[in-house]
């Protein structure tokens, strides 16, 4: 394919916000250098303690922890409860695609830690329309998930008057919308608009769907008004801005303390069973990325390992070649959910190609089926999502 890669990791030039310096090293690698060498993490953790002290014991809950059951939010919840003594309200946005292992894992986590939980499931009819519209506009069907996950807990924050919301992994770990040398990453409306919502707000969607959904239908995906957030003195940040994020160390910890379980994931080697296990359509998502940008999750994970000294670049390139670029079996379920054909799907994907990548999805080999795919919710008699 001939994409230029970082000279240190294996992230290509089509990665959003990538930048290669004079040595050909990408900005994400440089940010990791900064994170590992220049940040005084001891001082940062002191700041975190002081910050949490000002919120602990006030109101019904000390903070909100948005939760999916994946490794990052599970670690964040564990750390805040067990290591920092916070009483959180756990808020879990249900994107509709939790896998059985993760559903069980969430329950185990809640019961072992002992926390109050709010779970919210949006209207499936609306979700299907949003998935299709965002797939067409941006080649990314996860708009409802990105926006729901980040907006809904902020709404709970306003409604329940819990000003502090604590997230886990900073985006600076893998993109440059924010960087480690720019201070702690605030998870606010600016971040939401900068990249989380794919540049599309609920107000946009309401018009773009031509009256089929209204703003009222899109409430769960709408960021709260600035004045309402200011009124409660909202503060929302990443734990990873105050403690150094280390996915391997953190996954090992939650496996030990909470019996958190890994899961097989499409297109990814078994060594990475801690990654992105919480969504059925992670495979389809990665497939779209591969078609558009010429790389997918293995490149991402292997690059993280390279940056942490756990893998050589040669091994990474081998892994990428072996595992990336297959058509996921879960695509069949996805197409059924949205009632579109594979031809339509491919046309949309190819229309979103990111220069200079090229791809013909029809030529890609098929991947293996996940063990739990047969258990996923099916309702073929429900009718089309299109109106």
């Amino acid at each position: 394919m001939g994409l230029r890669l970082c000279s240190r990791c294996v992230t290509p030039e089509t990665h959003e916000t990538i930048f290669f310096d004079q040595e050909g090293v990408c900005n994400v690698c440089r940010q990791q250098e900064f994170k590992q060498e220049k940040i005084d993490w001891v001082a940062r953790e002191k700041e975190l303690h002081a910050l949490l002290d000002t919120y602990r014991g006030k109101g019904d809950y000390d903070c909100i922890v948005p939760f999916s059951g994946g490794k990052d939010s599970t670690y964040t919840l564990y750390a805040l409860v067990k290591e920092y003594g916070m009483k959180p309200l756990v808020v879990s946005f249900d994107h509709g695609f939790y896998r059985p292992t993760v559903q069980e894992g969430k329950l185990r986590t809640y019961r072992r830690l002992g926390v109050d939980v709010l779970q919210f499931t949006p209207n499936w009819h609306i979700v299907k329309q949003l998935m299709l519209e965002s797939l067409k506009r941006k080649g990314d069907f996860c708009w409802h998930c990105h926006t729901g996950i980040f907006a809904y807990p902020m709404q709970v924050s306003v409604k329940y008057k819990i000003p502090l919301v604590i997230w886990g992994e900073p985006s600076a770990e893998y993109t440059s919308y924010y960087s480690y040398d720019d201070g702690p990453e605030e998870v606010d409306e600016e971040r939401f608009n900068r990249f989380v919502n794919l540049g599309i707000t609920a107000e946009d969607m309401a018009g773009m769907l031509g009256g089929k959904v209204t703003l009222r239908d899109l409430v769960p995906f709408t960021y709260p008004k600035l004045r309402d957030l200011k009124a409660i003195n909202s503060r929302s940040f990443c734990l990873g801005s105050y403690i150094p994020w280390d996915v391997k160390k953190q996954s090992d910890l939650i496996k030990k303390e909470l019996d958190w379980r890994e899961e097989a994931v499409e297109g990814v080697p078994p060594e990475y069973g801690y990654e992105k296990i919480e969504c059925m359509f992670q495979g389809v998502r990665d497939y779209l990325k591969f078609i558009k940008r010429g790389y997918a999750r293995v490149s991402h994970l292997a690059s993280i390992d390279i940056r942490n000294g756990r893998m050589s670049r040669e091994s990474a390139l081998d892994y990428v070649k072996k595992y990336e670029g297959k058509r996921p079996a879960s695509l069949d379920i996805f197409l059924e959910y949205l009632d579109i054909s594979e031809t339509e799907f491919n046309e949309i994907a190819v229309s979103q190609l990111v220069y200079p990548n090229e791809c013909d999805p029809a030529k890609l080999a098929k991947g293996d089926t996940l063990w739990d795919q047969k258990l996923w919710f099916r309702d073929p008699g429900a009718g089309s999502g299109k109106s």
Partner: protein, 220 residues
């Protein structure tokens, strides 16, 4: 930064001087967004007694000075800034006016607060466009309270054809490269002024305005 707006212990009202030369509302909007008390005023008495002043402006030097002289605002600003030593921020035309004189379409006397002259930009390459419009990096020439906490990327929004020229490097707070160096900001005691528009320069610009609201007029 918005979600951590600092609380101020006492009210410090900023007077944004309205002398009929445009864009006062942009500055007001920015300050209101930051939760900083400010008002736009053309009243010399309010200016005279203000805690701190911002002089914005877009347009011609000569017309601006005429407005300031005729309205009594010049005398009011002299009182507040020179005699009472209150912090002052000049923006764009508001920076150029602090010079001794301006040479835009004539020769006009300026406020004379910072020695210098306002002259047409003369980039050393004839293909370089005029006016100078867009985002350009500033080179900060020292430690200034208003430049604390800026992001590592230092571009600000400029839109002008004339620039402040001074022989005294001590007054140059920042410079900028556009077919040659020109003065991007000046500083003298309680007077600070920028050729660029902080109210149009997103995060970095808002930081400067926030710093100004807390500045007591001295050095760092």
């Amino acid at each position: 930064m918005v979600s951590r707006s600092r609380r101020r212990e006492r009210q410090k009202l900023i007077a944004i001087v309205d002398y009929g030369m445009g864009n006062k509302h942009s500055v007001l909007n920015a300050l209101q967004y930051l939760g900083i008390e400010a008002q736009v005023t053309a009243d010399p008495e309010a200016v005279r007694l203000a805690d701190r002043l911002i002089l914005p402006g877009v347009g011609a030097f000569g017309a601006a000075m005429e407005n300031l002289n005729r309205s009594g605002l010049r005398e009011a600003m002299n009182e507040a800034v020179l005699r009472r030593g209150r912090p002052f921020l000049g923006i764009c035309l508001g920076m150029q006016l602090v010079a001794g004189r301006g040479l835009e379409k004539g020769i006009f006397e300026g406020l004379g607060w910072v020695p210098g002259e306002v002259r047409l930009l003369q980039p050393n390459d004839p293909d370089i466009k005029l006016p100078h419009v867009g985002w350009n990096d500033i080179i900060i020439e020292g430690d200034f309270p208003l430049f604390q906490g800026l992001k590592k990327e230092r571009a600000f929004y400029f839109v002008h054809s004339y620039a402040f020229c001074t022989d005294n490097p001590a007054h140059i707070a920042a410079s900028c490269e556009y077919g040659g160096r020109f003065v991007a900001a000046v500083a003298r005691d309680n007077i600070f002024a920028t050729q660029f528009h902080p109210e149009k320069s997103q995060k970095n610009g808002l930081t400067i305005l926030e710093n100004f609201a807390d500045w007591e007029g001295g050095p760092c």
